[in-house]
Structures are given as structure tokens and as C-alpha cells.
Amino acid sequence: MSHASPRAHLRARPPAEPPPARPPRPTAPAKAPRRRARTPLLFCAPFLLLFAGMYLAPIVYAAVSSLYAVRRSGLGLTAPTRVFDPLANYARAFQDSAFTGSLGRVALFGLVQVPVMLGLALGLALLIDAKSARGKGFFRLSSFVPYAVPGVSAALIWSFMYSTQSSPVNRLLGPLGFTVPFFDEDLVLWSVANIVTWSWAGYNMIIIYAALQSIPAEVLEAARMDGASALRIAWSVKIPAVRGALVLTAVFSVIGSAQLFNEPAVLQPVSAGAIPSTYTPIMSAQSAVAAGNYPYAAAQSVVLALLVGAVSFTFFKLTSRGGSA
């Protein structure tokens, strides 16, 4: 675990390729060093310009516009006006039960869905890695294929699976004596979680499987010589060895939960009201846009971005400290 975070990865790199000591050019000797310094910046320029325009500028724009409050006159007859009131939107966001509720919902979602999905991914990786497994290639591919289906298409397909009138899943379960009310208000969050799990479990499995593959064969052989059973080896040798992969997939899955949008947004119109338009933080911000209150949407986006930033920063601090210990 020497480079649990990409930053650590950067630090761990040897101080990079030194500038090649090249012989002075016979022509234009004075021009060469300046050109050398300028060229890499020119190479980076298209990316950096677009990055500034498409990443930094919107955040600044949102942060600035979140400081203005939209005021409507009592009768709503005149056009709403914007006044500078830096804290109004933020105060409103934290008092808005729809928005705070959406934050709590994705937090709950992350706490439950991420362990379930990673447990499934780890189990699959261990099974495919097991000596007893046959058809490894097929099973690896079959769990990974959903990842090739765009999130929105996956949600559309599952919306057919969940359909109240014609769910093929319930048709199969019917003869067994029960059906699942996928769009029940208490259940719909887990219906959404199932889509996310379906899409990403195989993908996480591939990461964990790659980590399993790099356990030296001698280590496993030694454990076997000591008489450890396959289950024991999985528990005491393999799982500790993929701890790093598990931590990273967990971090990225938790960050992913915060931006939950596609799946609930696709299910919303067919959910018969079980999914309100402010179901997740991003849906909430989007509905503020739909209501024409851009500064409020901007404030919600800023709050969410700060929360995600704080969560991932904390995680990486924790994991990289664990790595250096």
C-alpha cells in the first residue's frame, strides 16, 4: 500500500525524467532553452484552456451567483429581482427539508448499497479466482457486460423489469406465491440501488480480481501446504491482500452515490409518485433550475461539491496515512 491515493502515487514517483543533457545546438543556441520551456506549456494549452472554461469557470460562476437571492414581489406581477445576500440561499438550503432529506437519502444509499455491491463483487472475484471454478472467462464477462450498458439505458431496461403491470420478474416470482412491489415508497430506494449494483458490481469485481491475480502463487501454495482449506485461504490470505483495492473501490463508490441521478430520474415518471422530483441532491438542484431559481440551484451545487470534496479528502487522508504506517 505504498500509493493508495493518486497523489501518493505522484509523490512516490522518482523525481521524474531529468531534462536530457543534450549537446548545444549549432544553430540558434540562445533560442533553444526558451523554446524548451515554452513547448510543454503549448502542448498543455488546449487541455488547460478547456479545463479552465469547463471546470473552473462554472464552479466560480455558480459560487458567485449563489450569493444572490431571488426576490419576488408579493403578487408576482413584476419580474423577480436579484439582490446580493450572500447567506440567503445557503440558509435556505439547510432549512429546506427536501434538500437535506435528499442528502440523508444518498448517505443511507451509500451506507447500504456500497457494502452490498462490494460484497457481491468480492464474492464473485473470489469464486472466479477459486480453483474449483469452471468457465472463468464466461462468468467474468457476464458480470462485466452490464457495465457496457449506459446508466440511462440500464435504468430504462430495469424500469421494464419493475413495471407494475408487466414486470417479468414478478411473473417469474408469481408462481412461487409472492411479488415484489418495486415502486413501493419504502422499497423504491432499493430498487434504484439494485440498478446501480447491477451496473457496477462486475466492474468492481474486475478491479478486485486483478488484485487477486497479483498475489504471488508461492504465497497461496505455502498456505495450501500448511493445510489451509480453500475457504480459509480466501479469508486469511486473499481478502487481506485485496484490502487496498476494496478501500479504493469503496471510496469511489461512495463518491458515486453522492451524484446519484440517472437511475432515479429515469424511474421518476413511471414511479407513480414514489420518487419525488427532489429525490437526490442533484435532482433537487435540477428542480430549482426548473423552478427558475438559478442562484438557489447554484447554492445546492456548491454545498454538494463541498461535501463530496470533504468526504473524498478525508478518505484519502485516512487511507494514505494507513499506507505509510
Partner: protein, 326 residues
């Protein structure tokens, strides 16, 4: 949860730390790290059979079979349903074919709303193709510079790239929408293309691949021959990074295809929308568009991606194991 870029780096990084042998055998791009158990030589396989009991093999296969059912059932249902005669998509168990009218269905799909479905597909191809092409070019330039030049600000640029990879792109979408609506770019394809052409993860991959596949000596030889830096990049760098560039293009293409929120917000005109936004609109319209068309459209829209995915698996894996190679 569509941030392929953030998750991609998770893969790339995860393969590293857990690998604990950074200079291990995963140097081959593609198919990396598959050697231990994927294809045991026949003697090892016989030994395997002796070591494992029938019950353990049966149990493992049963569990894996169950998981395969879970992962494949929705796709299988989609395929079967799309081939059924029009209007019967939601009847029956959906487990097996029952009458075949796939081509008639596709014709109906094309006829709905004046053939807008194919326009959506074309839009998707254009946005993804153009965005990924530009994004790959810019990523290659920046990644190459980060890997092969030492210049002031290099650490800062790379730190910026990594930070951006960690923050999901979706979080930038609403601010982008607000900015574009301030700039009057709503209902303009540029509002989709411009953000699509930036890929911090692409830069990260390009940097890793450039450091790994372009020897400094080759560049030095080019310089001694008096070639300019851009010329060296074009004729030597690009050629040596080519497989990596395919990987970056692929990741970007799919990422743009998967990005639903941005086009859904900035493109209100349905003639400009990509296929994902169009189909979700159909699905939400309930009665106005017959639901079977959404089933058929979903199948048609994911087939190209599935084919690309299966045909180009090698390049996918290259992107996943990239971080493991230092």
C-alpha cells in the same frame, strides 16, 4: 453513477497498491495480470481436478451461474422482447422467443415521430465521436508533455488533473448549465461538445502510457535530427502511443455517451438530443409514444456499445491496468 473517469482511476490505482509488486508481470498492455489462473496448462488442469472435489466445483459453478442469471436476465429479456411481434413486448414471461418481427419493429421505430430515432443515434455518434476525438488529441498532447518534459508548473498541472479526476463530472453539470444559460449557449451543440472535449482521466492515462511506451532516447534522436517538438510528437510520440490513444478514445466515447444530465439540461430541442435523452423522453411520455418502441429503441441503442465493448476488450483492460505500471 456514470463517472467512468473517477471509477476508471479507481481501477487503475487499485490494481497498483494491491498488486504490491509494481514491476510485476503486468507490463503487457491488455490482458494484464491474467496469466496465473486463466489458462492453466493441461497438466495443471489435471492436477486441479484432483485437488478440487466435485461438490466444491458444483457449488462454485452454481453460485456463479446464479450471478450470471442476475446479470444477463435483463439483457436477455430486452433481446427477446424486441424481437416479438409489435405490441406483445410486455406479454408472456419474456424468457423465450415467441414470433419474430425484429425488423418490422425496427422499421416502426424509425417511422415514429418522423424518423427522429435515427437522428438521435446520429447525434449521439457525432457528439461522442467529435468529443472523444478532440478530447483524445488534447489529452495526448497534455499527457505527453507531462510525461516527457520537465517544466515549471508540471506538478501543479498534474495535481489539478488528479483532483479533477476525483470529483465526479456530474457535479459540474448544473454550474455548467447555469453558465451556458448566462452565455446564451442553450440548445447549441457546443454546450455538449465543449465540456466533452475535456477529460482529466484521459490526460492521466495519456501521461501513464507516454511514460511507459515512449523511450526518451527515441525523442532525443529525433531532436538530434533537428526535428521540432511538435513534429517529434506527431511522427514518433503519436505512433508509439497509438494503442493507448485507442483506449483513451474508447473511454471518452463511452463517457460522453453515458453523460445524460448535461445534454438533458442544455438541449431542449429534441432534434439535437442524443439517443439516451430522446429515449428517456419517450419513456416519460407514457401514451404518446407506444412503450414497445422504448424497448426496441433501448436494444438498438445499446447494441453498438456492446459490440464495441466485446470487440475492443483488449483496450479496455489496458485502461484498467494502466495505473499499475510505473
Amino acid at each position: 453513477m456514470s463517472a467512468i473517469d473517477t471509477a476508471g482511476i479507481a481501477r487503475a490505482e487499485a490494481a497498483g497498491p494491491a498488486g504490491s509488486a509494481p514491476n510485476g508481470p503486468r507490463h503487457r498492455a491488455g490482458g494484464g495480470g491474467e496469466s496465473r489462473s486463466q489458462r492453466p496448462p493441461s497438466s495443471a488442469r489435471r492436477e486441479n481436478r484432483r485437488e478440487t472435489t466435485f461438490t466444491s466445483r458444483a457449488a462454485v459453478t452454481a453460485l456463479l451461474g446464479l450471478s450470471a442469471c442476475y446479470f444477463l436476465f435483463p439483457l436477455w429479456w430486452l433481446l427477446v422482447s424486441a424481437t416479438k411481434p409489435f405490441g406483445e413486448q410486455f406479454s408472456g414471461s419474456g424468457l423465450w422467443f415467441d414470433g419474430f418481427d425484429l425488423f418490422g419493429n425496427i422499421a416502426r421505430l424509425g417511422a415514429q415521430d418522423g424518423g427522429i430515432f435515427w437522428r438521435w443515434m446520429l447525434n449521439s455518434l457525432l457528439y461522442c465521436g467529435a468529443g472523444a476525438l478532440l478530447g483524445t488529441a488534447f489529452s495526448a498532447l497534455a499527457g505527453y508533455a507531462l510525461a516527457k518534459f520537465d517544466f515549471p508548473g508540471r506538478g501543479a498541472v498534474f495535481g489539478l488533473v488528479l483532483a479533477a479526476v476525483l470529483v465526479p463530472k456530474v457535479l459540474f453539470t448544473l454550474p455548467l448549465y447555469l453558465m451556458f444559460s448566462g452565455a446564451g449557449l442553450i440548445d447549441n451543440p457546443l454546450a455538449v461538445l465543449l465540456p466533452s472535449a475535456v477529460s482529466p482521466f484521459g490526460v492521466y492515462l495519456a501521461r501513464v502510457f507516454a511514460a511507459q511506451s515512449i523511450p526518451d532516447e527515441v525523442l532525443e534522436a529525433g531532436r538530434l535530427d533537428g526535428a521540432g517538438e511538435l513534429r517529434i510528437f506527431r511522427s514518433l510520440g503519436v505512433r508509439m502511443m497509438l494503442p493507448a490513444l485507442v483506449t483513451i478514445f474508447l473511454f471518452q466515447f463511452v463517457e460522453i455517451w453515458n453523460n445524460y444530465l448535461l445534454p438533458a439540461m442544455v438541449l431542449g430541442d429534441d432534434r439535437l438530443q442524443p439517443v439516451t435523452v430522446g429515449l428517456v423522453g419517450w419513456n416519460a411520455s407514457h401514451v404518446a409514444v407506444p412503450p414497445p418502441l422504448v424497448v426496441i429503441g433501448s436494444l438498438v441503442s445499446i447494441v453498438p456499445l456492446l459490440i464495441a465493448f466485446l470487440a475492443l476488450q483488449r483496450f479496455w483492460r489496458a485502461g484498467m491496468t494502466a495505473g499499475a505500471v510505473k
